[in-house]
């Protein structure tokens, strides 16, 4: 029960084989305290095309970080598969190691993701040493990666230790450590969440520049819709382990279809929406996914009666709209959006 429109925007990025893709990926854990299964990621399709920046947006606990870790091979999916350039990812040690040369992680907290006892040089060279041993041109490569990440002149940073750097500089070191292996894609988990406002824009601009210069593909995991607007080509909104809406940033963020995306957008501090839709309560527990549409207990459209008006209210509580299949264009996993899609003025606020 999903809708798809807007095939007109399909660029070359959408038709070329994806660099990084999730096909029906599920990740389940045994719930803590015995009994029950936590469905952290539940049947998700996602693709990152060559040179494309995709933002994966959602609240904490929605499974976006687990999905990112799964795409990096740090977590093994319970179902579905991770594809790199069309090939399913293997989980033997050698396959994983080869994969990790080509897809890199930019972790959330630059303070904690650098070993306090390693100098900047060692931190950046670590990937090289893991994969190639000590190369004769190691210093040149480290230098190049540092200056690509915007730390110039690079030699001045070689001997610094993480605690001597500012938060922004640390994040640049982490990015340099990823770039030194000349990866084809990076997965960035909240790359600017713990940085100051003034540094945030600089790091995001760096990601854009790397895409332009190196053709790097990126999946950026974030809770920040402004970040998606700043740098991403496409955005996928996750709720309780599922992607509920996905599409080009311009469409999803200016004409959202899923009530959850609309609520998220309406509470942005500077939203022009007259009345913010503040959802009550916390995001529900992935160990107890509600039946039917997983958003229906908090859905403002259902609560306001608009869903009943459109004649879908009975399905919201009973029928799962299903996972959003990966396809170009703008789609939402919502019964109400499916019905109102034929009348776009109703679907687009």
């Amino acid at each position: 029960m999903t809708t798809r429109t807007g095939s007109a925007v399909d660029g070359p990025a959408a038709t070329a084989p994806a660099v990084l893709a999730a096909r029906g990926v599920s990740v389940r854990f045994a719930a803590r305290g015995g009994g029950g299964v936590v469905r952290a990621v539940d049947d998700v399709d996602l693709r990152v095309g060559p040179g494309e920046i995709v933002a994966l947006v959602g609240e904490s606990g929605c499974g976006k970080s687990t999905l990112a870790r799964t795409l990096l091979g740090l977590e093994r999916p319970s179902g579905g598969s991770v594809l790199f350039k069309g090939e399913p990812l293997g989980y033997r040690a050698r396959e994983l190691k080869a994969y990790r040369r080509r897809v890199q992680l930019v972790p959330q907290d630059p303070g904690g993701s650098l070993d306090p006892r390693h100098s900047v040089y060692e931190a950046v060279a670590e990937g090289l040493r893991v994969h190639h041993g000590t190369l004769p041109d190691e210093a040149v490569r480290v230098e190049r990666a540092l200056s690509r990440a915007g730390l110039r002149p690079p030699e001045r940073f070689f001997l610094r230790y993480p605690h001597e750097l500012s938060g922004g500089q640390r994040q640049r070191v982490v990015i340099a450590g990823a770039l030194v292996l000349e990866p084809e894609a990076v997965v960035a988990d909240e790359p600017v969440a713990s940085l100051d406002a003034s540094v945030r824009g600089e790091i995001l601009a760096l990601l854009l520049r790397l895409r332009a210069e190196l053709g790097l593909s990126a999946l950026v995991v974030t809770h920040d819709l402004g970040l998606a607007w700043n740098i991403a080509d496409r955005v996928a909104v996750m709720y309780l382990g599922r992607v509920v809406e996905a599409g080009p940033v311009e469409e999803v963020l200016t004409a959202p279809r899923h009530p959850y995306t609309r609520a998220l957008l309406s509470v942005l501090p500077d939203a022009s929406a007259a009345t913010p839709t503040i959802l009550t309560g916390e995001p529900p527990d992935p160990a107890r996914v509600p039946p039917g549409c997983r958003f229906h207990p908090r859905c403002p459209v259902l609560a306001s009666g608009a869903a009943a008006e459109a004649g879908v209210a009975h399905r919201c509580g009973a029928e799962d709209p299903g996972p959003l299949p990966e396809a170009p264009g703008h789609g939402a996993a919502c019964h109400y959006a499916a019905v109102t899609a034929e009348r776009p003025e109703a679907g687009n606020r």
Binding site: W229, L253, D270
Partner: protein, 325 residues
């Protein structure tokens, strides 16, 4: 009378035998029911101001100027009076609610604690009732009182922190990055709660954040700090949308308006490093990072000048050209 007023507040820390200034002359005023947002990047002195208001700074800090809470100077106050003021006069909501709550005590007891300490008329039973009331006021079911901090979500813990801050009916609440670690939806809930509480009880509030968009949304006035000084002050919406000081403008632009074509594929930040607090060059302290610096910025150290009705900014560019030194 203003609930909070600081006059020429200065704070310097002793480090390695010399004094490093953290706050260099800050004047603030918050009337009853007023809300002031204090913005700036880490290290600009905004949290130091908050701690100085309640005299919570470490002993190595030297504080100058005056801090008036409802007309009384906190800095010269006797110790006993200060203790009373700390909860009943002004209270603080820290960031990182997990670390500010005691992990092994039930939250109800933690809320009741200041009540019992500061109001001798209260019995444990009446204090517990009051804790339940307070929890309801911050939108939590009274049974939350029996929970331990780890059983609550981040948003719920932040609500508990707010309930604690309100326990003794303070006139001023200082919220230090109250929503930094929270999701957008929970952030919206907490901001709405704070706004409601301030409006309903006539409390004055000072909110500290590096996110100008949050402050512009939650406060009526906004002060932007840089290198220990206020560089711009005025009505929140105006400062956010149309800043006169280039630093305030850069901070405002760091958080894009979703849907604004100007910020699409154009994240904006501020190049350069935060200023070294120990270094004291001449001229404007923002000059090394300023995109619109002029020759005179090298020797003019701008004060807060009038920059329109009810606004001021510490930038030579707000002066009409004939007034330039």
């Amino acid at each position: 009378m203003n609930h909070l007023e600081t006059r020429g507040l200065t704070v310097a820390y002793r480090a390695g035998g010399r004094e490093v200034p953290a706050v260099r002359g800050v004047d603030l005023a918050i009337p009853p029911g007023g809300t002031l947002g204090l913005a700036g990047e880490s290290g600009c002195g905004k949290s130091t101001v908050a701690l100085a208001v309640l005299r919570l700074l470490p002993a190595t800090a030297r504080v100058g100027g005056s801090v008036l809470l409802a007309g009384e100077d906190v800095l010269t106050m006797a110790w006993g009076r200060l203790r009373a003021v700390r909860w009943a006069g002004a209270s603080i909501v820290f960031q990182g609610a997990m670390h500010s709550l005691n992990a092994v005590r039930r939250v109800g007891d933690q809320i009741a604690e200041p009540v019992l300490l500061h109001e001798s008329a209260e019995t444990p039973a009446s204090a517990a009732r009051r804790a339940a009331d307070l929890l309801e006021r911050v939108g939590l079911p009274p049974r939350t009182a029996a929970a331990y901090p780890h059983e609550l979500s981040g948003g719920q813990r932040q609500r508990v922190m707010i309930a604690m801050a309100l326990a003794c009916g303070p006139r001023l609440v200082i919220a230090d990055e109250p929503t930094t670690a929270l999701d957008v939806m929970v952030q919206a809930q907490i901001l709405r709660l704070l706004k409601d509480l301030v409006a309903r009880n006539g409390i004055a509030m000072m909110m500290i954040s590096h996110d100008l968009s949050v402050l512009a949304d939650a406060c009526d006035r906004l002060a932007v700090m840089y290198a220990g000084r206020i560089v711009e002050e005025g009505p929140a919406r105006q400062v956010f949308a149309d800043a006169r000081h280039p630093y305030a403008a850069a901070l405002g632009a760091a958080f894009p308006v979703v849907g604004d074509p100007a910020s699409r594929y154009a994240p904006r930040g501020l190049a350069g490093d935060p200023p070294d607090p120990a270094g004291s060059g001449t001229g404007c302290s923002f000059r090394p990072r300023c995109a619109v610096a002029e020759d005179r910025c090298a020797y003019v150290d701008p004060a807060l000048w009038r920059a329109g009705p009810d606004r001021s900014a510490a930038c030579v560019r707000v002066l009409p050209s004939e007034e330039v030194l």
